[in-house]
Symmetry: C2
Subunit: 375 residues, 2 copies
Amino acid sequence: MLPEDPSSRSSAAMKQILEQTPAWLSGGGEHADVVLSSRVRLARNIAGFRFVGRADVQERRDVFNLVRKNLTKAGIVSEDLGSGGACWLDVSAIDQYERDALSERQCISRQHAKGHKTSANEGPDPRAVIVQTPSETVTIMVNEEDHLRLRAVRPGLMLREALEEINAVDDQVESVLEYAFSSRFGYLTACPTNVGTGVRVSVMMHLPALRVLGEIDRVKRAASDMSLALRGFWGEGSEADGDFYQLSNQTTLGKSEELILTELAGTIVPKVIEYERRAREKLMTQRREFTEDLIYRALGVLTHARRIAADEAMSKLSEVRLGVTLGLLNGPDVATVNRLLLMVQQAHLQHAVGRVLDPSERKAARATLLRQTLS
Amino acid sequence: MLPEDPSSRSSAAMKQILEQTPAWLSGGGEHADVVLSSRVRLARNIAGFRFVGRADVQERRDVFNLVRKNLTKAGIVSEDLGSGGACWLDVSAIDQYERDALSERQCISRQHAKGHKTSANEGPDPRAVIVQTPSETVTIMVNEEDHLRLRAVRPGLMLREALEEINAVDDQVESVLEYAFSSRFGYLTACPTNVGTGVRVSVMMHLPALRVLGEIDRVKRAASDMSLALRGFWGEGSEADGDFYQLSNQTTLGKSEELILTELAGTIVPKVIEYERRAREKLMTQRREFTEDLIYRALGVLTHARRIAADEAMSKLSEVRLGVTLGLLNGPDVATVNRLLLMVQQAHLQHAVGRVLDPSERKAARATLLRQTLS
């Protein structure tokens, strides 16, 4: 019997991942009408190695190998994915579209999909991601900005659960790898904003009613007043395709995880949920006809278009999602709309069709997928 | 038995008219994919009376009474509409929305719906229209710009048939009314552009492919080169809601009916039909996906909107009509789309709902009608 080809194992794992919908898109959790998901990530580095941005390829490869060996030995990374578990994906070994798909699923950052520049004789940038399958509730990026980026994600508003989960994973990892830690600063990280607990807490919110009523600036001001970052989620730049926004803390130094979590989950997130709910109520009571028209037209576009760009698809799916949560549409359910938010994106479309598509083909494939799912 | 109330008879005739679809919207006739209808109208005045614009109310009332009496005696106007025939509608006696509906059906002009200004003690402007029921192929306006405006309309490109029909009606009318006629100039009319034969020949064309491809200016230039008028049809001003254009001669003096008809039907109309057909072929061969998307999106809007303005409805119906003629849509048929072009208009909507609607209610009623008919 021939030895197993590791790249074919990785490819099988990718295939398995792409067939699933991540648990955070299930439509469940607290306040799921407004909150899509809750994330907590920790930035960690391994003692005795330079930060990724400073290390040469060989040193990054050493980190890659050390992490793989130790986490596999400790059972954190599973050798066999048959019964579920966390799989090791060598990001430089998988196809370009698979890397992009992992980025679309928020398993890795765009930067990690691209990798650091290496010269021709150095070979590809040694980097990996560990993905908990099939839920994708936990991921660990290896050699992104920090040696390790641990992340837990849950559907709805479940920050505490996400924090508890990632802390447990962090403890497991720390039992087999020595972290770079300063008794004065806390965990050391490549970027000063992450020094300390290395924690970033973020909530993905769906705020269509505030956008429709032109009140999204209230949220932006409230976030800014609290030194929180409000970014478009899935959208390029600051504009949010489909009205999805990510609200997160900007700095970690000098703040306990508890404080960060309380600031976000205890004050601003409930306030934004309240804003959005009031806006939705206003749409239902004061602008009912306008709202029904908006939502049904969005469904009309999604069920009739023969070509549709990603941003338009996201925007119309957002409006349909609003309609579902308002009880104005009989179908589809929130989980289906959430799944489509992922499926209409470039790499997922290419995976569904089974080949690389040019922009025009993508528009057609996206429209077909939407029609088949929603009609 | 009480004597019949003439206004209730008029109202019954109006009701009957509004329940029908005019024959020119049947979708039949030559070149019906591009040509909606062919019209010929004659401007005539009665000898011994001043032109309408110069006459006082009493003189206009005298014309009104004379025309009614003589045409009824000659059997041109039917007393009994049970078996079809031409009915006399006292335009000042019917409801405002019925007048507007007659204008939407192209039975009367907007000016005729409004009437000439009269002072309070003069009573309403004496004016009428005779409508051939149920086909509406022939109409005669009484006391519009001229004492009589006789018009025949046919579906598709059937100008010669329309001319023959209106000439026959003209002969009938002339046998019981003496026309103002000059052996030097021909028939005398209120506006010098109509002097001579008093004929205006026009073809209503549906030119969506030329608009989509940005080539509508070619038609405008060709029309202008031949001193023909190209106007929006149903649209306000020069822009054509729904890509419907009316191509017609501008002057009549010194030209025989035959020459006018030949100029229009023999040269420019076939040329424009050819332009539009080539544009449609281009859409099908070179821009197939774009075209399918355009057409299905239009259908998506019409079958999903909860509120829709008249101009958007006309524009989307135009695209659906294009889709039907290109064979890209299974349903609806051209006759249904044509009927909707009429039914989505303000007065017809109000008739369908049975009461006066404010602009917001109209948008909702229009959307409901479209959904119910097309879904």
